[in-house]
């Protein structure tokens, strides 16, 4: 059945037509043959019965006068009918009286009279009729009719049926091959259009309109669907363009305003520290404290602006993507955090070899730098110890930056990635609350996920995924692995 399901539409149609034709013809032929046989037998029965009665009547006198020669002479008239192969008259007592044999022996004529009626043997029909005179039975006549004629006719009929079958099938084949187009062509052309659309993604193509039947409805619905898809695509494209434009405008605004804020801010801090250096000795001590506070606030504002700038820079078109060796990236991030690490005597361990991934190198450096910086910053009472590792699961690398610091309560573990979200006072742990937002943005831009696994007091494990790159890119690790040649690594 499944083989039939896989057949092309036009083959299927032709097959259905041919099978139907064959079955109908066979059925009709069988019915006709049955009717023919029945008619032939009835005709033969009737004819042989009439014949037996006529001949029997003509032997009345011969039987009555016991004149077997006369009876034989009467039976001799049967020669005129070639279907009669033998006849025998039995007398009143059932003894054989007179015979007729068309061709020699070969037929077992009944010695004693059979009972009245008829019987179809293999090759013969035996018809047995009473002979009566004046209402009294005086004998029996039996006729043996040849059935070869019937067999010949049946054979002829079978031959004709076979010929008609072959002819009809040939005709049905030709006709169906020609006529199936009217059914299959509309569907096939619709299928062609559907294939074109699927292959070329061209939603402006339209199927030619069909008549008012189901295929027509299907075609109209299909065209309508194409129009819908096209319109939706256009709408989505427009919306995406608008979004991109407004996003770009917003970023531009953020960048420009942040950048422009830095200049006056730098002047404020600069003159503030100048004021303290020149006139700090002649100022009352309280004024010096005020000046310190003002300078620190200015520096914080400056830091804030820098962080906002780097956050917005994540989305700006950068150096472009290329293969980046993460061990080089980690080395650079450690170098950037060197002062803090040395100050706190932190221990950083890279536990496994790190992979080469596809990405923007400066952003990945920033990612590790922020995560390592956090891990160092939120140490507990003991000197910080940080472990960096990578493991592969299918098509993803999962990287971990684990510390043994103060940890994060579960209900904060998602909030920490929000912008400006801080869990501690500035006095406890300094920071702007933007670092982890930047991290998440970078990971997402690299088609990964960033999350934290932590318990308060048991340290935190920041983990993120990055896609595994194809073999081709992995095949050139030496360029990306060069820690000294930053420019060429970034250019990749």
């Amino acid at each position: 059945m499944s083989r039939f399901d896989d057949l092309p539409l036009r083959r299927k149609l032709m097959l259905v037509i041919l099978v139907t034709c064959t079955l109908v013809l066979l059925l009709a032929s069988a019915a006709l043959a049955g009717f023919e046989i029945d008619t032939f037998r009835r005709t033969m029965l009737r004819e042989s019965m009439v014949l037996a009665d006529i001949v029997g009547k003509n032997t009345q006198a011969a039987l009555t006068f016991q004149d077997a020669t006369g009876a034989t002479s009467v039976l001799g008239a049967l020669e005129a009918n070639p279907e009669v192969v033998a006849a025998r008259v039995h007398d009143r007592d059932g003894a054989a009286f007179a015979d007729y044999l068309r061709t020699g022996p070969g037929i077992a004529l009944a010695e004693r009279a059979r009972s009245d009626g008829h019987e179809f043997l293999d090759d013969h029909l035996v018809m047995v009729r009473p002979i009566t005179l004046d209402g009294k039975r005086i004998g029996t006549i039996s006729l043996w009719m040849d059935l070869a004629g019937m067999h010949e006719r049946l054979l002829l009929f079978a031959g004709i049926v076979v010929l008609v079958l072959i002819g009809s099938l040939a005709m049905a084949w030709v006709l169906s091959a020609y006529l199936q187009r009217y059914v299959s062509q509309p569907i096939l052309s619709l299928a062609d259009v559907a294939r074109t659309v699927a292959e070329r993604k061209d939603y402006t193509v339209r199927a030619p309109p069909q008549g008012g039947n189901e295929v027509g409805v299907l075609t109209d619905a299909f065209n309508h669907m194409l129009t819908e898809i096209y319109d939706q695509n256009q709408r989505l494209k427009r919306q995406a363009e608008e979004l991109t434009r407004s996003n770009a405008e917003l970023e531009q605004f953020t960048y420009v305003s942040s950048h422009d804020l830095k200049e006056p801010l730098r002047m404020v801090t600069m003159y503030m520290s100048l004021l303290e250096r020149r006139y700090g000795a002649s100022m009352p001590p309280e004024a010096v404290v005020f000046l310190h506070e003002a300078t620190a606030g200015g520096e914080r504002a400056q830091q804030l602006i820098d962080d906002i700038l780097s956050y917005s820079r994540v989305d700006r078109p950068g150096v472009g993507r290329g293969p980046v060796a993460l061990d080089v990236v980690v080395a650079e991030a450690l170098a950037n955090n060197r002062a803090e690490i040395d100050r706190l005597r932190a221990e950083v361990v890279v536990k496994s070899s790190l992979p080469v991934v596809l990405g923007e190198r400066p952003q990945l450096v920033q990612l590790f730098q922020n995560l390592i910086g956090n891990a160092v910053k939120f140490h507990g009472d003991v000197p910080p110890r940080i472990e960096i590792s990578a493991e592969r699961a299918g098509k993803e690398w999962t990287l971990s930056v684990r510390d043994h610091g103060i940890g994060i309560a579960p209900h904060y573990q998602e909030r920490i990635f929000d912008m400006f979200q801080r869990l501690h006072t500035r006095e406890e742990y300094p920071g702007t609350g933007i670092g982890l937002s930047i991290c998440r943005k970078i990971v997402v831009r690299h088609s990964g996920r960033l999350w934290v696994e932590s318990e308060p007091g048991a340290g935190a494990n920041f983990r993120f995924t990055l896609p595994v790159v194809g073999e081709l890119v992995v095949g050139e690790p030496q360029q990306a692995a060069s820690p000294t040649d930053r420019a060429s690594g970034a250019a990749l």
Partner: protein, 207 residues
Amino acid sequence: MALLTEEPGITGLARARGRSGIRCLGALIALFLWAVPGRQAGAADAPTREYLVKAAFLFNFTQFVEWPAAAFPDDAAPIRLGILGEDPFGRAIDDTVQGETVRNRPLVVVRSRRADELKDCHLVFVARSERSRLDEVAEAFDQAPVLTVSDCDGFTRLGGMIGFFLDGAKVRFEINPSEALSHGLKLSAQLLSLGRLVGPEIGAPPR
């Protein structure tokens, strides 16, 4: 279909006459007579085997002869068999017709030595005792619808209708159909085909 032309009728009669000579050779005697060969050596009154056959034939003739309707007073009237002269059958003829009917008519046997007493019979058997007076007998039944049968030599040439003769041991009969026709009797073609035909050629088919 071809067989219908063989049915006794106009052509059947003509053909039967042509073949009658061949057919005479093959006549058989009734089987029941074969079974009782000793009967002819019996008592003086008992008929010979020959007359037993002839008695049966007399009865059989009535089945293949058609009398005009005027020959019977009514539908139930019996067929009268007359025996003219010295009866050679004894009880044989009475036994033969006993309880038989032909076309729903019973059969009655009448015996007489005088022909005019048998004029209302339908079939008259003329015994050998009358062989010297066959002319008179023929005259007596002139025009009457009476089938005359005899075993006297030359009976059919002297105005008789059916004459028995012996073909070896077999009883056969000859028929003068024109004589029967002139008396208004219709003999079945089958009967004609079994007997030897004598008398003038029949130009027109018997009606």
